[in-house]
């Protein structure tokens, strides 16, 4: 799939920037309250990877299904989750989008097509096949999308699902966010051929690779792939090359990479990248950008306040959602 750079659309650019700013502020706050001990458990931040979430989810429609990874905050935000309820979930409160049952690693809201962040590497691909199967059966013009990382491409379920979607002609978008690290292990240590896009070849699947730090490019690629998948009833495999500035999780002491490497990637920050593009194209001013940043900060601040004020769930209600009626 050859995605040419489209003309910059002001509305789209602004939406992508707004969402990325929201992601960044959201995660910075999560990190902060985590460090204060006000959020327990663990969490996987995607600071630096915002363009993959904003560009990808920005190209989806509300009825499209999205299955995320353990690093799923940004995808949920960009697919349209309610920020207050998501923050409350991460604080473990009863007003959380999953009533405090799931937490950071299991954010989901079926009402907006978010069918779950997942604690396991790989299953998102198979689950998306099933959702796409249902859409296809009902002749619905929508797709199911699975996010997964470069590490997941070495799981059996990756190959099983790629094959299934291909042979059954399922409208699935397989989105590989390639940040080149499986936790601490660099892709070069675990793959002979690190050219991930080649993994679509044996499945005769349409594929594309994009700079995952360029939100507009990601958006255009996924938008085109979405149309292709629906029109042809076929899956598409997209590799979005990016970098995780934040550590893998709270246990990460960054022993496996250099400060220089991180600094280099900070220069390619996806938010700065889009801001620069928009300024150069005359789509907004520096003042407007500062304004958008302030709005994102206010939205997240309100979400934190909502989460902190919300009550904790009650242990006596714990059996309520083990089984469906």
């Amino acid at each position: 799939m050859n995605t040419a750079r489209k003309n910059m659309d002001e509305t789209i650019s602004r939406k992508l920037l707004k969402n990325m700013l929201l992601c960044r502020k959201f995660e910075e706050n999560v990190q902060y309250y985590f460090s204060l001990g006000m959020i327990h458990g663990t969490c996987h931040l995607g600071i630096g990877e915002e363009a993959t979430a904003a560009g990808t989810c920005g190209a989806l429609l509300p009825d499209d299904d999205m299955f995320a990874t353990h690093r799923g905050h940004n995808a949920a935000i960009c697919k349209g989750i309610d920020i207050n309820h998501m923050m409350a979930e991460i604080f473990g409160k009863s007003t959380g989008v999953c009533k405090g049952h799931g937490g950071s690693m299991h954010i989901a809201d079926k009402d907006v097509g978010i069918l779950g962040a997942n604690g396991i590497v790989g299953p998102s691909l198979a689950l998306a096949c099933g959702a796409a199967f249902a859409h296809k059966r009902r002749n619905e013009k929508c797709v199911a999308l699975a996010f997964f990382g470069d590490g997941a491409t070495n799981e059996g379920i990756f190959h099983e699902s790629m094959n299934l979607a291909s042979v059954w002609g399922l409208p699935v978008l397989f989105i590989c966010t390639n940040n080149t690290y499986g936790m601490s292990t660099h892709i070069s240590k675990v793959m002979k051929d690190t050219n991930l896009i080649d993994r679509a070849v044996p499945y005769k699947m349409k594929s594309a690779e994009v700079d995952g730090n360029d939100a507009l490019l990601v958006y255009n690629t996924v938008k085109e792939a979405r149309s292709y998948a629906i029109e042809n009833s076929e899956p598409v495999f997209i590799v979005e090359d990016t970098y995780r500035i934040s550590g893998h999780s709270k246990s990460d002491a960054n022993l496996y990479r250099t400060k220089e490497e991180i600094s280099e990637w900070k220069k390619k920050d996806p938010i700065l990248n889009l801001e620069k593009q928009m300024l150069e194209a005359g789509l907004c001013s520096t003042e407007e950008i500062r304004q958008l940043e302030a709005e994102a900060a206010d939205t997240v601040k309100a979400a934190v306040a909502y989460a902190i004020e919300s009550p904790y769930p009650k242990v006596e209600d714990i059996y309520e959602d083990v089984y469906a009626e």
């Binding site: 999953c98 989901a108 689950l127 959702a131 199967f133 249902a134 379920i157 099983e160 699902s161 299934l164």
Partner: protein, 328 residues
Amino acid sequence: MSTQNEMTYAQAIKEAMCEEMRRDENVFLMGEDIGVYRGAFGVTQDMYKEFGTERVIDTPISEAAFVGCGIGAAVEGMRPIVEIMFSDFMSVCWDMILNQAPKMHFMFGGKVSVPLVIRTASGCGTGAAAQHSQSLEAMLCHIPGLKVVVPSTPFDAKGLLKSAIRDNNPVVFLEQKLLYRTKGMVPDREYLIPLGKADTKRIGTDCTIVTYGRMTQLSLKAAETLSNEGISCEIIDLRTLLPLDRMAVLESVKKTKHLLIVHEAVKTGGLGGEIAAEVAESDAFYYLDAPIKRLAAEDVPVPFSAVLEKGVLPDEEKIASAVREVVG
């Protein structure tokens, strides 16, 4: 007037699926070689002719992908029945059975449900050796959010499967290989058997036998023998193992004051321990006149040689001996 037909356990399972597929277009079936081949045990014979290959779907040999696909389709409002050829193959899609299907409703705060049935052939006695003969129900019962069903008769198989298909939770339906060809009466009229309810297959006064699946049939035969000796057995067929019908067990134990638990799965970590513990933790414990006994397979992988395979399993005679021991 309702009439009854004699049919096999396999036919009853097929009838349940066909009726539900006629009733609800969201129900479909997928698995390995279930179309023209008719499934490894012949259960799905000719179903593709009525419903087409769009609803009776042969899959690649990719259990994780097609069970995962079933979960995804269920979340999106369909009601998939997924066949795993042998229950031993749950090992290659365990993430789906353990981490995905049973957790979603809970983890996602009740907003998502997973109306999925996983049908799979379970148990030994066919000479298929250690990787095609296991009884793995106890592992499944350790997973809140799943339901686990093991029918012992054609009548139960049909009624339970229809309920499982209509249930909004993931249900693992463990079909007993050696029962597929056994026959029983099944009514013409539509009926459902609720999940979570045990069935008293024989009323008795001296000893309760709690069991399920094929061991129910062997226990019934043993009870016949024992009745000639003046020992009256009550047989509780659990039918659903998760959730467990604790009350049915406790009430029977209070009545007979003796308890034998029989299953085909290995003893250590088996359901027998759970049932014994339920009794030990309840006031039924005070009614017992003798220690509880478990009769299960030996704690070994299922052996191949027919002599060995028979040797490690409970059978009619072992059940009868165990009851004699319990009632002393």
